[in-house]
Symmetry: C2
Amino acid sequence: MSLTADAADRPTLYKRIRADIEKRILTGEWPPGHRIPFEHELVARYGCSRMTVNKALSELAQADLIERRRRAGSFVRRPQHQSAVLKIADIRAEITALGRSYGYELIGRKLRAATAADRDRLGVKKAGKVVAIACRHSADNVPFAVEDRLIDLSSVPNAATADFSREPPGSWLLHHVPSTEAEHTISAIVADDRTAEALDIAVGAPCLVIDRYTWRSARTITAVRLLYPGDSHRLVARFKGG
Amino acid sequence: MSLTADAADRPTLYKRIRADIEKRILTGEWPPGHRIPFEHELVARYGCSRMTVNKALSELAQADLIERRRRAGSFVRRPQHQSAVLKIADIRAEITALGRSYGYELIGRKLRAATAADRDRLGVKKAGKVVAIACRHSADNVPFAVEDRLIDLSSVPNAATADFSREPPGSWLLHHVPSTEAEHTISAIVADDRTAEALDIAVGAPCLVIDRYTWRSARTITAVRLLYPGDSHRLVARFKGG
DNA sequence: TTGACTTATATGTCTAGACATATAATCGTA
DNA sequence: TACGATTATATGTCTAGACATATAAGTCAA
């Protein structure tokens, strides 16, 4: 009765159930640890089948807002201790998203047998060939970031002949290597002579550093270090809920 | 037949379907844009009901791995342009997770009517009272981060009388204010005299800066700036899939 | 008190249907 | 050719059941 009669064009039922519960959690009405009603109670309250409330609760569980325990019930999870999520975008996308013009410039490219330092950076043990690339990204013709990259040719042989003078290696890899996993490390340094010159900032000025290490099913692909002027560049992360 | 007879103790069917598809996407066998089999085809292939394959596909859609379009089918989504997720943990948790001892020290606390600068920092227009707190976190008795925080008392009146000499304001807020939203900005600066002294580093040394602005349903709660020694502290972000 | 066994129950998964709905494709018409 | 109406179809949601399974709680004996 409540389904078609007075529903008008509200969201679907399971979404409304999910939103109802989410709201109570987010407002603190149901604090962490609180047991939310059993499925059969929600079935009675909303006058629907169990599959419908189950779908709502499953999605809340997937979003880590609640924890479900057999025989015991479903419980509001305690917040993940002020954790947040930061999106590190592709540089070109980042710049164009700001409505600025993107510029790219290859500084240097070398093909060589991996040195001990290279192997260390890539986290591989065996010797092999690598491409080392240095390049610069700019926004509205102002240096935006300098990139220092190593690509493992044993994983990406095509990279040996790729033309990085026009296409940034990041974009190239994105289009030539299927989905990968990556680990980022963010830190801060002060600019040395070379960095200062490349970024057109003062020696000793602060720089934000992003080190990204990328692999694909246990095979190292690439290691890259990005340097941004620390006072002008900012990474923004938003966090919502639980 | 295939369910109980030869299944042994493999994962449940819908999970297996989801994993099968996910694998093909991640290995590149089904590249971005590829149309994955229709539900009724998967029903035939796995010999199950449509609800089962629907559950698998719905979860893949929720994870942004595929896009579902009515009448057209389900398609592999193109990767989210090298975006990543970074967890910014609570400092105490961060330190104890590293197996180091956590130390906390209140440097200063002031209750005052909000100055123009305070209001700007909190993003509020009306005048009101605020608490300004300066404190320091340490790991194994070595300075780990200095914190400079502003709490809006019109949103959190209790904070006026809270004892921040033993409990860090971050933990206190976590326990006294229900779920909030936050925005983080990460940048780099060089240490000035005061910062250098507080962190026991050299003047001019690089520092990682996290500015966090927290609100709750359109009400500002707190604004905090955390300064970390840039060469020793690192934020690590992992990225998987897509 | 402790440990082993039993039972009750909430969640987990699944089915074989149903109708709703957005939209790609087709067809007819101006 | 271009546009508007129609149709076919894949997904979206939902039902009223079913059995599986982990486990909290109760029971009983050592």
